[in-house]
C-alpha cells in the first residue's frame, strides 16, 4: 500500500502541475488522512521537494482554500479546515456520472482489465462509505 501522506506528480503529464497538486491533495483530504487543524507543508517546502515553482504550489493551495478545504493565514501556513458538506448540485452529479463513464471507457481502451477496474471502484466505494 502506498504511503497515504504522499503527493505524487508527473512532470511529463500534459496536465498542468498545479492541477495535479490540487487533485492529489484533494484526494488525500477526501480520504480523511488529515484531521481539521492539522498543518500541511509550507509552500516553500512542497515546492522544493517537488522541484516546482513556489507560485504553482501557492496557486494550488488557493484553489483548495476556495473549495473550503484549507485555511490560509499568514504566518500559520496551510491548515486543514472542518469542511461543511455542500448541498449537492444536480448538474454536478450528472457531470460526475458522465465523466466517470468516460474515464472507465478510456481505461478499458488503454487495456486496463474490466475486473481490475471493478475492483478499484469497489474499494473506492467502500472507502467512501466510511464515516
Amino acid at each position: 500500500m502506498a504511503h497515504p501522506r504522499i503527493l505524487r506528480i508527473d512532470l511529463a503529464s500534459p496536465r498542468p502541475v498545479y492541477e495535479q497538486i490540487v487533485s492529489g491533495l484533494r484526494a488525500v483530504l477526501v480520504a480523511g488522512e488529515f484531521t481539521p487543524g492539522e498543518q500541511l507543508p509550507t509552500v516553500r517546502q512542497l515546492a522544493t521537494d517537488l522541484g516546482v515553482h513556489h507560485n504553482t504550489v501557492a496557486e494550488s493551495y488557493r484553489v483548495l482554500a476556495e473549495e473550503g478545504w484549507l485555511d490560509l493565514r499568514r504566518g500559520r501556513g496551510a491548515v486543514v479546515r472542518q469542511r461543511a458538506e455542500p448541498r449537492p448540485i444536480t448538474a454536478a452529479k450528472h457531470g460526475f456520472s458522465r465523466h466517470l463513464e468516460e474515464l472507465v471507457a478510456k481505461a478499458i481502451t488503454d487495456g486496463v482489465p474490466r475486473a481490475a477496474l471493478a475492483g478499484h471502484m469497489s474499494a473506492l466505494a467502500k472507502k467512501l462509505a466510511k464515516p
Binding site: 504511503h3 501522506r5 504522499i6 503527493l7 505524487r8 506528480i9 508527473d10 512532470l11 511529463a12 503529464s13 491533495l25 488525500v28 488522512e33 488529515f34 498543518q39 500541511l40 507543508p41 509550507t42 516553500r44 517546502q45 512542497l46 515546492a47 522544493t48 521537494d49 517537488l50 522541484g51 516546482v52 515553482h53 513556489h54 501556513g77
Partner: protein
C-alpha cells in the same frame, strides 16, 4: 623545538593525504543508489563489470593525483618554498575533481532516462536547528570567552609575538600587540562560524528531501544530520581560533594542532562509516531510477544548474551532503562568501609569514 621535525611533518602529511585519499576512493559509492558518477543508471548498475571498470580508472587517477600532491607538499617543506605547498594543496583539491569529471564522462553512455515522477511528503518537516539556539551560540561564546581572557591578560602579551611555526618548531611568522593583531583571529573565526551556521540553517530549511519508501525516523533526516555535523565543525573552528588567540600567552603550540586534527579525522571516519551503513542504504529501495533531477543539469558531474528547479540545496550525486543549485542567484552569493573567507585567511597567513 620539536625533535625529528621533518619525520613528524612527513608522517603527518602522509596521514592527511591518506585520509583525503580514502574519502576520494570511497566517494562514488556513497552516492544515492540509482546514480553513478552523477549519471542516472539502472538499479544495480554499480555491481556490473562496466561500473567496476569505470571505478578502477577513477581510482587509478586518484592514486596518481595523491602521489603528486604528496610529492609537492614534501618538496615544499624540504625546500622551504610556500609555492610548492600551495601547489600541493591545489593539486589535492583540483586533481580529484578532474578524476570525478572523467568518471562522469565515462559513465554517461550508460545513462537511462530519469523519472519524471516527483513525490513529496505531506508531513510538515522539522526545521529547527540541532540543539536549538543554545547550541548555535555556544561556539560564539567560546570565542568571546577567549577574547575576554586575552583582554584580562593584555599586559602579559609581548609587543611582538610568533603566530606561525616552521616544521622544525621555530617561529617564522610574527604579529604585534594591537587590537587587530591580537583579536583578528577571533573576528575571522566568528565570521567562519556565522557562515557555517547560516549554511546549516539554509540546508535544514530549504534542502530538497527525496522520499524513500521506508519510513524515516527523525534520526536519519539527512538535512538534520548535515546540520548537526556543521555544528560540530563550528565547535572545531571556535576551539581552533580560541587556541590561536591564546598563543601570545602560551607560546609555541607544539604538537597540539596535529593531535587535534588527527582526532578530527578519526571522528570524521567514524561518522562517514556510520552514515554509509545507515542512511544511504535506505535509498537502495527507491522505486524510480535516480533522484528525479535531469543528468544534463549536472555540469561535469559536479555542479547542479537547473533554472526549472526552485530548490536551492539539493542532494549531491557524488558523495553525500548537499550542493547548491547554481541557477539560483543566492547560490553564487554563498559560493562567493565561502571562497572569500578562506582566501582571506590564506592571505593573512602569507602576510604574517613574510612579516
Amino acid at each position: 623545538m620539536i625533535p625529528y621535525p621533518q619525520l613528524i611533518f612527513g608522517a603527518f602529511m602522509f596521514a592527511v593525504i591518506a585520509f583525503c585519499g580514502w574519502i576520494f576512493w570511497m566517494l562514488p559509492l556513497w552516492s544515492r543508489h540509482g546514480t553513478f558518477f552523477s549519471v542516472t543508471v539502472v538499479p544495480g548498475f554499480r555491481n556490473s563489470p562496466e561500473a567496476a571498470r569505470i571505478l578502477r580508472g577513477y581510482r587509478t587517477e586518484i592514486l596518481v593525483h595523491l602521489a603528486v600532491a604528496f610529492a609537492l607538499v614534501i618538496a615544499g617543506a624540504m625546500r622551504r618554498e610556500v609555492v610548492f605547498l600551495v601547489l600541493g594543496v591545489l593539486w589535492l583539491t583540483v586533481g580529484p575533481l578532474i578524476a570525478i569529471s572523467r568518471g562522469h564522462a565515462r559513465a554517461m553512455p550508460h545513462a537511462v532516462a530519469h523519472s519524471t515522477i516527483r513525490e513529496a511528503s505531506l508531513v510538515p518537516r522539522r526545521t529547527k536547528l540541532p540543539g536549538g539556539w543554545l547550541l548555535q551560540v555556544t561556539p560564539f561564546a567560546i570565542l568571546l570567552l577567549a577574547g575576554a581572557y586575552v583582554s584580562a591578560h593584555w599586559s602579559q602579551i609581548p609587543d611582538r609575538f610568533p603566530v606561525h611555526w616552521g616544521i622544525d618548531g621555530r617561529p617564522n611568522g610574527w604579529s604585534v600587540r594591537t587590537p587587530m593583531g591580537v583579536y583578528g583571529p577571533l573576528f575571522f573565526g566568528a565570521g567562519l562560524v556565522a557562515l557555517i551556521s547560516l549554511l546549516g540553517y539554509g540546508i535544514s530549511h530549504s534542502a530538497r528531501w527525496i522520499r524513500t519508501p521506508a519510513p524515516r525516523s527523525d534520526s536519519v533526516d539527512p538535512a538534520h544530520r548535515i546540520a548537526l555535523v556543521l555544528v560540530g565543525v563550528e565547535f572545531f573552528i571556535a576551539a581552533m581560533f580560541s587556541l590561536v588567540v591564546l598563543l601570545p600567552l602560551t607560546g609555541s603550540p607544539g604538537v597540539a594542532p596535529i593531535l587535534i586534527l588527527a582526532l578530527g579525522m578519526i571522528v570524521c571516519i567514524a561518522i562517514l562509516l556510520r552514515w554509509q551503513s545507515q542512511g544511504l542504504a535506505a535509498s537502495a529501495s527507491l522505486s524510480h531510477p535516480g533522484d528525479g533531477m535531469p543528468d544534463s543539469c549536472w555540469k561535469l558531474g559536479l555542479f547542479y544548474y537547473n533554472p526549472d528547479d526552485s530548490a536551492l540545496f539539493v542532494e549531491k550525486r557524488i558523495g553525500f551532503g548537499y550542493t547548491t543549485n547554481f541557477a539560483r542567484p543566492s547560490a553564487w552569493i554563498i559560493l562567493a562568501v565561502a571562497l572569500i573567507l578562506p582566501l582571506a585567511l590564506a592571505a593573512l597567513t602569507i602576510v604574517n609569514h613574510h612579516r
